[in-house]
């Protein structure tokens, strides 16, 4: 079965090309809109470093024996990763659905898994750029080590995949922009702020300390903190493990939606 006049390529090759094109398209969108997709989050993280770390840090000095301005850097990186991975995919998917141009890749020979990976790539790329940008700009103001670079890199990538998947899920279910804003502002942002970005959970009293253990973003922040500082509130195995498990569940949910055509087919 071939298109007339075209060279005969295997379905696998054709789908691989489709996936490469969709990935490129999602990356292009992130890079073309860099003033909206990359810069604001890096500026926001920098302001947090300057205001909380440097200005207020003089009052707080140290947390768990770590200078405060160092302590908050990994959390800020992860906060940017999870919020922007989510926002990217929720927006991209919903816009493509509401404007109708998602029909172009959906009517192509690509399988659901190719569509899913292609769409996830945008959120992952955006998150990685924000993480690298935040680390680089924070370095201008704060001296910090990166004790476990592999743990940090793995945490960023795993969290980026998981929250891109969550954004995709919301983008597929959404019937209006307000649902994405609600999820971002009322669920993800609060979980990020309460996930120990600015404080150690050891400073919390009960029941807040126990409740924090139910916050999945706490584990991602803790894993990133271990990657940067070489120490964190919980074991790196637990924090990386929970982050991976949460991302795996979100990814599986996302795959089921693509497989069933939720938001893509009627």
């Amino acid at each position: 079965m071939t298109a007339r006049g075209a060279r005969i390529d295997s379905l696998r090759t054709a789908r691989r090309r489709g996936l490469a094109a969709l990935t490129e398209r999602e990356a292009f969108r992130v890079l073309r809109l860099w003033r909206q997709t990359i810069v604001p989050q890096i500026i926001a993280a920098t302001l947090f470093v300057v205001v909380f770390g440097i200005a207020l840090g003089r009052e707080i000095r140290e947390i768990e024996g770590v200078p405060y301005e160092q302590f908050i850097v990994p959390g800020l990186v992860l906060m940017g990763v999870v919020t922007q991975a989510f926002a990217n995919n929720a927006t991209s998917l919903y816009q493509a659905r509401s404007d109708g141009f998602i029909e172009d890749p959906v009517t192509s020979p690509m399988a659901p898994r190719h569509l899913m990976v292609g769409y996830l790539s945008g959120g992952v790329l955006r998150s990685i750029l924000i993480a690298v940008g935040t680390l680089a700009v924070a370095r201008i103001f704060v001296e910090y080590p990166i004790e476990r670079p592999l743990v940090l890199a793995a945490t960023i990538v795993i969290a980026a995949i998981g929250f891109s998947a969550l954004g995709t899920i919301v983008g597929l279910y959404s019937t209006g922009w307000e649902q994405q804003n609600f999820t971002l502002n009322m669920v993800i942002q609060p979980l990020a702020f309460l996930g120990g970005v600015f404080y150690s959970i050891n400073a919390l009293s009960e029941p807040w300390r126990s409740l924090t253990f139910a916050d999945p973003i706490f584990y991602a922040v803790s894993a990133a903190r271990y990657g940067v500082l070489g120490e964190a509130e919980v074991s790196p195995w637990l924090s990386v493990g929970v982050t991976t498990a949460v991302s795996a569940v979100l990814l599986a949910w996302c795959w089921v939606l693509f497989r069933r055509g939720v938001g893509l087919r009627t």
Binding site: M1, R4, A21, R25, F101, T107
Partner: protein, 252 residues
């Protein structure tokens, strides 16, 4: 002619058997529809709004999932995730103009070609060729949302044809298009058909269908009410024009 070639020639471009699609609130869009579009034909699917034309077309390209029935394109299943490979040989220009506004026109066409399995260089060459065919070369670097309505309609058609499909489905391609552009579009589609591409067209312009289509089918309430060559149908219904056949069959 070899046995394989004879089989390929006799396999219909599109075969629908007992296709049923019910939407929420008990809206039956397709009610056990049967249809066969011969390979290489210029086929018109005619009917009023809500008759099921677009639902059927969207089922063929994988945007609707029928509740029951079979759809095959050149003998290959076109339904469900297993039908995805079949879409390599189908080109689809939807009724609604929906074009990616984040990429430039040339890039939009190249991406489409690659979604459908063309290699990068082939997609680039083919995009340039289609831009020239549809007189859009000077808009290659523009964004689709900055184009006029007529240009967007041409771009939509260029996109549908870019990956060299064997079956091209055009859902009201000339709706809201001026006469000059309509003539241009039809002259290109005619050439394409002359080269052996099967065309499935839906339109509300019955004179257009009468002039272009070798066969037509009238759809009413999700079923085919009648089908055949325009001349045969006029004779069978004792009607001077296809429009009169339409009014007898599906008019309200």
């Amino acid at each position: 002619m070899s046995a394989d070639a004879r089989a390929a020639e006799s396999t219909p471009a599109l075969r629908c058997r007992g296709v049923h699609k019910r939407f929420p609130h008990d809206v039956i869009a397709l009610d056990g529809l049967d249809l066969e579009v011969p390979a290489g034909s210029f086929f018109g699917l005619l009917g009023p709004n809500g008759a099921g034309k677009t639902t059927l077309i969207r089922s063929v390209v994988g945007l609707n999932e029928p509740d029951a029935g079979e759809i095959a394109v050149f003998g290959h299943n076109a339904l469900g995730p297993g039908g995805a490979p079949t879409r390599r040989i189908v080109g689809y220009a939807p009724q609604e103009i929906a074009l990616d506004k984040f990429v430039q026109v040339q890039q939009l066409l190249e991406l489409h070609g690659r979604y459908f399995g063309l290699e990068r260089r082939d997609a680039r060459d083919r995009a340039a060729e289609m831009l020239e065919q549809f007189d859009l070369t000077n808009k290659a670097r523009a964004y689709a949302n900055r184009l006029s309505g007529g240009m967007r309609r041409r771009l939509l058609l260029a996109r549908a044809l870019l990956h060299r499909p064997r079956l091209v489905i055009l859902d009201e391609p000339t709706a809201g298009v001026d006469i000059e552009l309509r003539q241009d579009l039809w002259s290109y589609i005619r050439r394409l058909h002359a080269d052996g591409t099967t065309i499935l067209l839906t339109t509300h312009y019955l004179d257009e269908a009468d002039e272009l289509c070798e066969q037509v089918a009238f759809i009413r309430d999700g079923r085919i009410a009648a089908e055949g060559e325009p001349d045969q149908l006029r004779e069978r219904f004792g009607a001077p024009r296809l429009e009169d056949v339409y009014l007898q069959l599906v008019g309200r």
